[in-house]
Symmetry: D2
Subunit: 253 residues, 4 copies
């Protein structure tokens, strides 16, 4: 089971333009700080946050308790000009888990409701025994040589975004998610997908848009362990000359 | 003329996996801090940075001198476990400016070359008289009501990413760029595009994928002013009940 | 028993001037970020860090395990241009605990040894049953009215520093410590001191240098709880018109 | 002439305990972030901030205009749960400059007045021609060998604080200021003091409390340059075997 948390800044949109639009570089700093900060706090408990839309962030949070979530909300309130609400859901697939988390929070009021403030809406928490994660760390083959060092920075960015969009489109249909994590790297919570299904998606994208991808697949009891195993898998593929689509590593406890 | 800066972390990919893969939550914090930090330093000079790929960041930097860039590089070296190289280019269109910036830097060595370190490669700088920016702040109509408060968090994220991908695809052909800036918001440096061209792109996207967009368009001598004018434009459209595609505001000096 | 951790930046002094002195505003940012960051990570486990000398920081860490310390060291290594070593000690008094922590670390090499790197030297850890903390939150009576709003900023700062120096001098003799925590506030880990001893110190300082102080004294199983109880104690004194020297609050579990 | 800015968090004390005392580790993070942040923003304009009391910070700001100060205030408002007010003063001596800055701000209302909010009270600004700074970077001789590596961390801290208190006491009488900047280092804005006066203070402290100090003295048109020259002076003394009290370096433009 994967436990996911939706972190939503309360009533953020209206705040950004009240009394008049706030300086964009300040908003970018603020959003990036919140993102870094959540990864600091959740990271201490072996969780991992994805920036998602910056004002709505999805995190994999197996191992984080209700109290942990509450402490993080209070810490944000104590240091930011806004509060955050959270929804938590647990399910067999990542898509279902974030959906339960979202629904739990939506029931408490809208994102731009001025009444809803610092809600912690828990649909379900994963217990220690039931926690299990499969994460795929996907990157583009030879991105530096074939793109970064040759194409313009934005054109490379465009192709990375294109790969992201195609990956998202295909993974979402299987109940998996995909997040961009910088460079030419993506992280996909993909509990429930078989190795074959993941490999097929990479092959399809290569055929459709000519972008070669590979995936380290990691499994563990928390997202830190699973993501680390996925990194190791990716290193294994590189060590073998990039002639494999996927490599699976399971954390032994 | 728009001046753009490419900021590239030197030899970052190899560093992230040496001697073994580094913890993902730490890397996300580090990247987000760098992004926030660059916006802090460039923001003090009325520049604006986009996270782009996090290890390769594009910024609009009219008003920032060679010395300003150098100071920022030194400050990064003093506080981070890596250095950054930069390329700077100036042109009539944003795409051309970032291309010149990229080429200037590429000439000095590859992104993963261990020899290249803290290069500042300036193709061209905009002078005060020649500085002129057109920025479009684009958002999705009624995103909170129709997506955030109804769909699952990831599904909303997926649709926002879809809008981003379609916008990028169309804008890049016109020499413009597009960056996601959080929520349902995009910022497009778009010097050289006519109002008609921008409006047509929004109409096309509405017809093709059914996502309704609007754009505040701002013009000024630096990106802070132009982005702020774009924000004002967006507010104007909202004040008029969202029944316009675009609204242009020009900064008066 | 109080558990204290000494965090020491490895070989920091030489680094700050190599190859030539680094910009002071950058060093201040770096040191402040490290301090904030350690409080973020240790705070998630209910620890509390004091800035002390910024390159040598003392923390009260009851509840933090060896693995917690190690994780924090790795996270620093992953995001800073330096590493940190740590010593951990546990004792009946704060002074003895930090002394054991220091000795454990000193045994592993000097602060400016280029050989010593990311050492974790544990003399002793407090177990859950043995953890007990007494913290005094001390402030200056009517500081805003009688100093901040009347004297020059530096003169007020000077008087606060004077109070700090007198408090440190007296507390250290009793095996207690004192840290400035901003404003006109001090935090004293003071396991083993009686209420009478604390009150006497405050009375002596009033008589010797005419600075009126009060102290909320808190007790608990971790420093977060004990410090919070101390805050509540201080609020109690304020609620009673500041006519008491001390007020003790014990956390109930 | 030295230009100094007092940055004061508006109504901070009451906020820290409303509705009940906030978690201490959060407050320490918040204060340290503000300090780092101000150094980031002021540092971009070659200013330098000292943490002072964390809720009241003194900065040397020659070169920063009224607009620069205003931009920083707005940026704080946009990212923190509070606002800051500022006072600015310029004078022949640092003590007089910060006094003028303080008075200008005090006239606008008390630090804990809920009415006073984001005031920018400018008594006087230094112009480019009139800007001149003398900064002394003072450290303790052989601190690592004789203290850090031998004494307990808190005992070393105590002696550093003792040196600070004696330095402050003597410098304030001459119209100079002193700030602790980490490790065994102090920075003294000391416009108007002769080399002989500075040397005499160091000799007196050696005689009175047996702590050997040395000072690099730097002069320049802004605090970044002057502090850097002071660093160079300190390096010169070290290169000569620490057998000098002071060494003066003047920035050439």
């Amino acid at each position: 089971m994967i436990q996911m948390t939706l972190i939503q800044i309360d009533n953020y949109g209206p705040w950004t333009v009240t009394p008049r639009p706030r300086r964009e570089s300040d908003l970018q700093r603020l959003q990036a700080q919140l993102y870094a900060d959540l990864n600091s706090m959740m990271g201490m408990k072996k969780g991992l946050v994805f920036y998602t839309r910056f004002d709505n962030l999805l995190a994999v949070t197996n191992g984080l308790t209700e109290e942990d979530h509450r402490r993080i909300q209070i810490s944000i309130r104590n240091r930011y000009p806004f509060t955050v609400s959270m929804g938590v859901g647990t399910a067999e697939t990542p898509h279902e888990a974030q959906k339960l988390a979202t629904i739990a929070l939506q029931k408490q009021g809208g994102a731009q409701s001025s009444d809803r403030k610092e809600i912690l809406a828990i649909d379900s928490l994963a217990d220690d025994d039931g926690s299990y994660l499969q994460m795929a760390h996907i990157d583009i083959n030879s991105c530096t040589d074939t793109l970064t060092d040759i194409e313009s920075a934005f054109d490379t960015n465009f192709l990375v975004n294109k790969a992201q969009h195609y990956l998202m489109t295909k993974l979402i249909k299987k109940g998996a998610l995909l997040f961009f994590i910088g460079g030419d790297n993506f992280m996909a919570p993909c509990n429930g997908l078989t190795e074959k299904e993941i490999e097929d998606i990479l092959i399809e994208i290569d055929e459709e848009i000519g972008i070669g991808l590979k995936a380290g697949i990691g499994r563990g009891k928390n997202v830190e362990d699973a993501a680390y195993m996925a990194d190791i898998g990716l290193e294994e593929i590189r060590a073998r000359g990039n002639d494999m689509w996927i490599y699976v590593v399971e954390k032994e406890y």
